[in-house]
Amino acid sequence: MTVYEPIEEFTDLKPPVTSIGVLGWIRSKLFNNWYNSLLTLATLYLLVKVVPPFIDWAVINGNWNTTGAACHQSKGACWSIIHANIRFIMFGFYPPTEQWRPLLAMMLLFALLLVSRNRRWWSKYLGFAWLAGLVVMGLLMKGGLFGLPAVDSGQWGGLPLTLILSVFGLTAAYPLGVILALGRQSRMPAIRYLTIVYIEMIRGVPLISLLFMSAIIFPLFLPEGVTINKIIRAQVAIIMFTAAYVAEVVRGGLQAIPKGQYEAAESLGLNYWQTMRLIVLPQALKIVIPPTVSILISAFKDTSLVVIIALYDILKTTQSTLSNPEWMGFSTEAYLFLALVYFICCYFMSTWSRKLEKELQT
């Protein structure tokens, strides 16, 4: 028989000290064995090779507010291409005197998005604010009322167009995807097979071909004289495409919900829609936040494919400035700027999803 020694006193032990100061940290994290040391040295070498020349090019020799000709003389970066063309890049062919309108609309959108980031502010009123906001944004873009000159949607472009396609695309695709996922699990064979056919067909073709179809083939079926706005057609294609992917991810979440949850809900007397809305979807959608946001992020970037049907989203407007002889050859700067815009938007989405995930953890 073992006899355990009684512990004399409750003594609080400090957690063991693993590293002391910066040097200790460097030692333990970067040079703790030979291959980590090697990797650290290699990385340092690369940084030395890359960073100073980049700063030289981008900042020290950079041109910020010059003409194209001056840029061609300099060996630094030509940020002037952005500066000089910012209005076209941002707003495309929107009439210059009216460009405050899309600017205001975007600011309104950003404000709503920021407010919606905080879940404590989610309420009925925020929903109304979004509805009102969308109406105001539409009015600002389109005009024709309250003394605002009408602007044909053919002239819309740049960042507002990208945002319209994404915000509407994603907000419509998400619920549609959820409904498709439910349909795929339906006990009614007709509904189940219809959704399976839909999802598999859409996933079987690239987005480009859907956009082509919506732009070129679809109008052929319309009666003479009837046209549907090109933006709307692209929008529908994006929604249909994204929804199919969202559906499959949500289906994965639905399958993770144990049968007991359905049974408990049913035995309380909840009907199908109540069970889904109150019990199953809240759990399933939470599980699939990370893959869903991945899909939404890639859908956001995919909106740039609308260039192939001659819509001037921000990618196309940026590219177009490069065909101006004055600014030809500064594609690096132009695309870096574009990358920054996309990065900010995507980063916003991914931090938001992580925040949401943490808040919904129980």
């Binding site: 144990p258 408990a264 035995s267 309380l268 007397g269 019990i279 759990q283 939470k286 129980t362």
Partner: protein, 259 residues
């Protein structure tokens, strides 16, 4: 209630209203004939314990009573309503029949209080305030009111099962079904759940309990049913059932569970 004491009199139960009536019930899972002609009548206030070997169809039988499983032949009549494909009838029956599962099946994304108020609010269309009052009343009853704001994952198994019982009670059911409510629990938690069930029994609740807790059966059951291979093989008062089992299979089963 005349029949809520320790020594129930079958005569009193006989007189009472039939709340569940099962007539020649058959069920198949694909080709597999699970229930092979079940006949059972349960009077209001009666407490029945069902036991039998694994796979004998105990769960399936009680799950048929609130339509978690669909039967293919025979009749199930609950409080005068016959179970059929009529959705309205199914909903009505589910409101009157509460069910407690082996694995609790609480809703993990809702607080204990919200777990309890969900049914009253959405099914009975009760105002939230009233539903919360009822929920707190039943939480007190299962001695767990101080946990109302927690989530199920933060409670022990025994506490979760008591919450699950309270959740069913909030719907004010006329019948409670229990499918092995203590068999997923650690031994030291079994008693707290059985105590709640016993006090429920003393209040006169109609109960059908699938369990192998023989002590529970002896102290509260009016009748014990023994099922094997989809049939009710033997049925008797607890004393007779345990002391003088008739069938060979019952004897074998009892010798196994009583060691």
């Amino acid at each position: 209630m005349s029949n809520s004491g320790q020594n129930p009199s079958p005569a009193a139960a006989e007189e009472a209203r039939q709340i569940i009536k099962i007539i020649d019930l058959h069920k198949w899972f694909g080709e597999f004939h699970v229930l092979r002609g079940i006949n059972l009548e349960v009077a209001a206030g009666e407490r029945i314990v069902v036991c039998g070997p694994s796979g004998s169809g105990k769960s399936t039988m009680i799950r048929c009573i609130n339509r978690l499983e669909e039967h293919q032949r025979g009749q199930i009549i609950v409080d005068g309503i016959e179970l059929s494909n009529n959705l309205k009838n199914i909903e009505k029956i589910r409101e009157e029949v509460g069910m407690v599962f082996q694995h609790f099946n609480l809703f993990p994304h809702l607080t204990i209080l919200d777990n309890l108020t969900l049914g009253p609010i959405w099914v009975k269309k009760m105002p939230r305030r009233e539903a919360e009052e009822i929920a707190m009343y039943f939480l007190e009853k299962v001695h767990i009111a101080e946990q109302a704001k927690k989530f199920p994952g933060q409670l022990s198994g025994g506490q979760q099962q008591r919450v699950a019982i309270a959740r069913s009670l909030c719907m004010k059911p006329k019948v409670m079904l229990f499918d092995e409510p203590t068999s997923a629990l650690d031994p030291e938690m079994v008693k707290e759940v059985l105590d709640v069930m016993i006090s429920l029994a003393h209040e006169g609740m109609t109960m059908i309990v699938v369990t192998h807790e023989m002590g529970f059966a002896k102290s509260v059951a009016h009748r014990v049913l023994f099922m094997d291979e989809g049939r009710i093989v033997e049925e008797n008062t607890p004393d007779e059932f345990f002391d003088h089992p008739e069938h060979e299979r019952t004897k074998l089963f009892l010798s196994q569970i009583l060691h």
